[in-house]
């Protein structure tokens, strides 16, 4: 199973293309919130950016916290979310140790599904879809990029 990683965030320019792509292509929204990856400045623009995205925990605390079975463990790490089973309680977001689950104002959860569709929209090659348990980070070539 592939998982999304953000190994080169020190290259990030804060364009939000990844978040916008996730919202647009996965969730069919225009948004920088309702996305599986969200970018924020870390203490002001002069200190760079960080990505909030699912770290593909195994086992995932959000799965344990979900009271209705809407969240289930994804093979290789991360979660599979069945929104039809979700009661908008927000426990998943509270359980996530790295704030990777976004709740909109109705408490609908949005979390990365590790599809990698954001990767090609990063102009500085910050993101990488990699094999779960395999070598994250490093200088391996990845798809996308090309600013």
């Amino acid at each position: 199973m592939k998982i999304l990683t953000a190994p080169r965030m020190d290259r990030c320019i804060g364009c939000h293309s990844c978040s916008l792509a996730c919202a647009r292509l996965v969730h069919k929204n225009l948004s920088w919130d309702t996305a599986g990856i969200r970018i924020s400045s870390s203490g002001g623009l002069s200190t760079g950016f960080e990505a909030r995205t699912c770290l593909a925990c195994l086992p995932a605390p959000c799965v344990a916290a979900c009271p209705t079975g809407a969240y289930s463990q994804r093979k290789g790490g991360g979660v599979v979310v069945k929104k039809s089973l979700c009661i908008r309680c927000g426990e998943c977001a509270r359980a996530c140790p790295v704030d990777a689950v976004f709740l909109d104002h109705t408490s609908e959860p949005f979390v990365c599904i590790h599809c990698g569709r954001c990767v090609g929209f990063c102009p500085h090659d910050c993101l990488e879809l990699t094999t779960a348990g395999g070598g994250k980070g490093g200088e391996t070539a990845s798809e996308g990029g090309g600013a």
Binding site: L30, S40, S42, F121, A147
Partner: protein
């Protein structure tokens, strides 16, 4: 959100209350520049002074903001302290996407807050907070405080002013998200006059996208053009400072208060030098994968025993021209230190640099003395300019207070108008020739971005008054369409009229997509009418003698051509403003 009208948030700063107005006119003015002029027509008070509390401070975005790459700019419109007339200034940062996601096509601020305040708006909140404790703080400290006081890091935009805005300097800018600015014509003083230290816009809304594949396909196509082709290379590689060496090479760079147009010392402040020696990283406006913002650093030893501090400073061609070439400061790090100082004060660097260049020459010529300048200004002396920029922002004495109202205002009082480099406002960094000088002097924003006059000059055409004026009118019309969308003008090579129409259609603006030509023409006229209604007379504009003394690669400036161009362009502007009978926007 796609809607056939404008959703405008009006805030009365006197009471801290707001209201939503749904305004008709989408198909007539699109948004951005067009919407700003429409709103000024509705809420502006042409006969009353710029600092009348009821004058509106307007921020607008466009129909494509956030929907496509580089649709990432915000238009700010106001009655300017610089000339007490209608003005527009544009900035990026996160302001445009934050407004989009806050779900407002425009934010209109009226009234005056009873105490120094900060306004915070989002899709589900409106809050005016007393921040008297921030008044007097420089721009950096203000930013740190506001970041701590408000939530939403990454998905908010912070607009703030420094001491210059509080002191009502006509050169005060509004800083946007640290590295971008509503720079020109004194929007910062409008915030100051309204007792508004900051505006925090939280982009906390989301909207469903159009059904079907067309939008996603078109997005992909536009995105690819912006990132995979060489079209945008110049903006993210060396960035706009690439112009420094080019203009210096063709004797078209204003140097030393425009006493020269080329100098070997410029090698120390070219885009190549900045990139090689000072560039730390790039940054981007939200929604733009190009990342044209170039950030360098200043490093200062503030104490013995190797105690250093450092700060990050964004640079572009215009700031380097103004703080470097015009002041003959030709060391890249010295220029960055000056930019840092100017930023701290919340001044527009272009006006501030050109103003001090005039003051330096005025001091050299004995027009003024150090009693006025406080410090002995001298071309090339960056240490003394750091002090002087502070005095300009602080309005430390009557001289600096008057200079902050505009170089020509000071020159009229003290003398030295012949060598004041003012084209409507302090000049931009191009001494390319007659067409640019006339374009900036008469242009609606007095900006190098009103038209491509500097580019026309470089085409080495024979003097052709009618051809040049036709170019200026048509080029302005094309740019007005982009600034009504609101696109970054760096994307003008990608966003031709056909692609814009496709983009509009793909998100549901069918009528607008079929009438872009009529819309740009209408907005162009509407803007000029708005400007003239506040007192602008293009025939009264004069171009100081210094511009006639310039020599470019083509030789001396042709004074007769310049005068004929000015007269003809003034006539064309009056013609644009005169036609009152074309169909206007519907009333809301």
């Amino acid at each position: 959100m796609i809607r056939d009208h404008f959703r405008v948030l009006l805030v009365d700063l006197g009471t801290g209350r707001g209201r939503i107005e749904n305004l008709e006119g989408r198909d007539a003015v699109a948004g951005g520049s067009g919407l700003a002029a429409l709103l000024f027509g509705k809420y502006g008070l042409p006969e009353r002074p710029w600092d009348d509390p009821e004058q509106p401070l307007i921020f607008t975005i466009g129909p494509l903001t956030g929907y496509f790459p580089l649709m990432s700019k915000t238009v700010c419109a106001f009655k300017s302290p610089y000339h007490d007339q209608y003005a527009e200034s544009h900035a990026g940062g996160r302001s445009a996407l934050a407004l989009r996601f806050a779900d407002y096509d425009a934010l209109v601020l009226q009234g005056r807050a009873p105490t120094p305040s900060c306004l915070s708006v989002g899709s589900r909140h409106l809050d005016l907070k007393d921040v008297h404790y921030l008044w007097g703080m420089d721009l950096f400290k203000t930013g740190k405080m506001l970041r701590r006081m408000y939530k939403g890091a990454g998905h908010r935009s912070i607009l703030r002013i420094g001491p210059a805005g509080e002191n009502l300097s006509a050169m005060a800018c509004i800083n946007v998200d640290t590295y971008r600015h509503f720079g020109r014509l004194g929007s910062g003083a409008v915030m100051g006059a309204k007792n508004l230290k900051g505006i925090v816009i939280l982009g906390d809304g989301s909207f469903p996208l159009p059904e079907g594949k067309e939008y996603a396909r078109l997005f992909q196509e536009v995105y690819r053009k912006m990132t995979d082709t060489d079209m945008m290379e110049k903006y993210h590689n060396y960035g706009t400072p690439i112009n420094m060496a080019i203009l210096n090479g063709i004797h078209a760079l204003p140097i030393r208060n425009l006493q020269k147009t080329s100098d070997p010392d410029i090698e120390g402040i070219t885009g190549e030098t900045f990139a090689r020696d000072t560039l730390l990283r790039n940054a981007a406006c939200a929604g733009c994968p190009v990342g044209c913002i170039h950030i360098g650093f200043v490093r200062e030893r503030f104490m013995g025993e190797n105690r250093y501090l450092y700060r990050q400073v964004s640079y572009d061609h215009e700031p380097i021209f103004a703080a470097g070439a015009m002041l003959h400061v030709t060391n890249a790090f010295s220029v960055l230190a000056l930019l840092d100082t100017v930023e701290r004060e919340g001044l527009d660097i272009m006006s501030a640099g050109v103003a001090l260049a005039w003051a330096t020459e005025a001091l050299e010529k004995g027009v003024i003395t150090t009693q006025e300048t406080i410090v002995p200004l001298r071309f090339g002396d960056d240490a003394v300019y750091r002090v002087a920029f502070h005095h300009l922002g602080a309005a430390s004495n009557e001289f600096y207070r008057l200079l902050g109202q505009g170089t020509m205002k000071a020159a009229r009082h003290y003398g030295g108008a012949d060598f004041a480099c003012v084209l409507g406002q302090e000049m931009a960094g191009y001494a390319t020739g007659e067409v640019f000088f006339v374009s900036q002097a008469l242009g609606l924003r007095h900006s190098h971005l009103d038209t491509g006059g500097y580019s026309y000059d470089q085409k080495d055409k024979e003097p052709d008054v009618n051809g040049a004026v036709q170019f200026l009118v048509q080029d302005e019309r094309a740019r007005v369409l982009l600034t009504s969308m609101v696109s970054c003008l760096f994307a003008r090579g990608v966003y031709g009229e056909d692609i814009l129409a496709d983009c509009l259609r793909s998100v549901g603006y069918k009528v607008l997509s079929e009438t872009t030509g009529a819309v740009s023409s209408h907005v162009q006229k509407l803007r000029w009418r708005t400007r003239l209604r506040t007192g602008f007379d293009p025939r009264s504009v004069s171009i100081p003698k210094r511009f006639l003394e310039v020599e470019t690669w083509r030789g001396p400036i042709d004074g007769a051509y310049l005068a004929a161009l000015k007269e003809a362009y003034a006539g064309a502007i009056l013609d644009l403003a005169r036609e009152e009978r074309e169909p206007g926007p519907q009333k809301g």
